[in-house]
Amino acid sequence: MGLLSKKDANLILDPLADNNPITIQVLGICSALAITAELKASIVMAVSVMFVLGIGNVVISLMRNIIPSKIRIIVQLVVVAALVIIVDQVLKAFAYELSKTLSVFVGLIITNCIIMGRFEAFALANGPWRSFLDGIGNSFGYGLILIIVGFFRELLGSGTLLGFKVLGDPIGSPETGPTGLYALGYENNGFMLLSPMALIVVGIIIWVQRSRNKALIEEN
């Protein structure tokens, strides 16, 4: 890592695994449950959050010395809201169908705990470059989990990935009937499309992660 010092690199790498916003800090769960039924939506959500958190962290970090601490939450909200509106408008302009799938959850990025959490915990106390790295790192960690969950939910729930029928066609043409795995009698798991299953998938990720890294297990 010639580009980044070791300390800076850790800002990006830590949130990917050992300090992951979703699996370790348990933040941003609502959106992880709500929009991960499709991989595409997960990816778009991850990119949106990365945009908002990356830029938001820089903006807050630049203003950190002039924000009166009594009204800092309001200021932070204004910054997030402005960025989220930009994301929302871009999605509506260029990916209307997708923005309908994501519906209210784009707007709800404002209330995503990860964003306010990083503003409060990091951007208010660090310079813009480090804040930017922190924002990118955390949204990477968030996006990674979203994409893993979205991958399994779409694959097992709908039998597709990004809309492609990777497991074969459940209906198929009238002559051949179902193709691929479906010809063998496989069926999609409808439970995967329901939100509780997203919680269980996140839970399994947390389980696997903690059993691999014993340092993460809390003492009680």
Binding site: G185, Y186, E187, N189, G190, F191, M192, L194, I200, G203, W207
Partner: protein, 400 residues
């Protein structure tokens, strides 16, 4: 004694190694262990966990056998029409009927046990604890509460899910919040609803024959009622179980015998069973009252189920089976005697409530029991707290 010695030697050889729990389990399952407790105080009791489990399995065997005969009976009746003058020996207890049941139900039993025990063994080896007997009953309950033609791979996935997520993540047998068998059933219901509901899944081969000239179907009584048609089975058919349904749930008579056996052997709580029956009857009476007060028109989609005689709710669907074999699970149910009354009552009450109002699937026993499983610790907490408060008051009065 060759096998016993081999197992014992294997056990000694692998003592302290990773695979030890697996050999221990096979050994103690087949034979009495060689070890005896030699220090500390201990109680000699015959009813260990394994024997408790075996008693429940014994209570389930008649239901299983009946389910096999009924599978064939429903299958042939759907094809040839129900026999005009039914005789138990000539029409029901026939070799043909049993053969259909054997070839459809036995694979379910085998898959359930093989997959479930494999998961248990793997977890025991990973975690380094002994294999627990908890799956013995679950493995027998699972094939009894699924439709007859459930694809085996679906059952296998559901069993893995139920045992891992329903039980092992909480720490294994005795630590689970939800009844594993019902977790498996709920998983199947939400994951593959087309295989779990409708009028095609309850009779063997009905799914394959759908859309062909040989199409057969067998709507359950609850399914008929949900469509506002009258049940086409007599009360005695319902009671003795000559009706379509999941494999083991149909015969209220045999379930009743099994329940009495469990109460007599003090394995299951009569408080839970009785209060659940009272709860179901209460809810049934409320619905009957709504109908007789003319608060609901005959055109309403709930009319069929709401006007169903309140006591007949006990005879159809999985209510009786759930109350006797599932609600009484000592791990997931309430522990306090007073709590058991509340716990059971709400199971019956909510079962009938869901059964009537569930738009997609006119049955709710498994959902009601899972819901009350979640609330059982809360109920116990308040029962204990109220007792603490009562005794505190009494002692304060005595000292004052």
């Amino acid at each position: 004694m060759g096998l016993k010695n081999t197992l014992h030697n294997l056990k000694e050889k692998y003592k302290g190694k990773k695979m030890a729990p697996a050999f221990n389990a096979i050994h103690t399952f087949l034979y009495l262990p060689n070890e005896t407790t030699h220090s500390g105080s201990h109680v000699r009791a015959a009813d260990d966990l394994k024997r408790t489990m075996n008693t429940v399995i014994m209570a389930l065997i008649p239901v299983l056998i009946f389910g096999m005969f009924n599978a064939g009976y429903q299958h042939y009746s759907a094809i040839n029409g129900f026999p005009a003058d039914f005789s138990l020996l000539n029409d029901f207890l026939t070799w043909d009927n049993f053969l259909v049941g054997l070839t459809t139900v036995l694979p379910l039993v085998i898959v359930s046990y093989v997959i479930g025990l494999a998961v248990e063994f793997i977890f025991a080896v990973i975690k380094g604890h002994e294999v627990e007997e908890g799956y013995l009953v679950t493995g027998m309950l699972v094939p009894l509460i699924v439709p007859i033609d459930t694809p085996l791979w679906m059952l296998a996935i559901a069993v893995i899910f139920g045992v891992v997520i329903g039980k092992e993540v909480f720490g294994g047998t005795g630590m689970n919040i939800l009844n594993p068998a019902l977790t498996i059933r709920a998983f199947l219901f939400f994951a593959y609803p087309t295989w779990m509901s409708g009028d095609k899944v309850w009779v063997h081969e009905a799914v394959e024959r759908a859309g062909t000239a040989d199409a057969i179907s067998g709507e359950t009584i609850l399914g008929q009622l949900a469509q506002n048609t009258d049940a086409s089975y007599s009360i005695s058919d319902m009671f003795f179980g000559f009706i379509p349904g999941s494999v083991g749930e149909t015969s209220t008579f045999l379930i009743l015998l099994g329940g009495l056996f469990l109460i007599f052997t003090k394995i299951a709580s009569w408080r839970i069973m009785l209060s659940a029956v009272i709860g179901a009857l209460t809810m049934g009476l409320i619905f009957n009252g709504v109908v007789s007060a003319d608060w609901i028109s005959e055109g309403s989609k709930f009319y069929g189920l709401m006007s169903f005689e309140f006591w007949q709710h006990l005879l159809v669907g999985g209510l009786a089976f759930g109350i006797v074999y599932m609600a009484t699970d000592p791990v997931t149910g309430s522990q306090t005697n007073k709590g058991k009354w509340y716990y059971g009552f709400f199971i019956g009450f909510i079962s009938v409530l869901i059964r009537v109002f569930n738009p997609a699937y006119p049955e709710g026993v498994f959902l009601a029991i899972l819901l009350m499983n979640v609330f059982a610790p809360t109920i116990d907490h308040y029962v204990v707290q109220s007792n603490v408060k009562k005794r505190l008051k009494r002692s304060n009065k005595a000292t004052a």
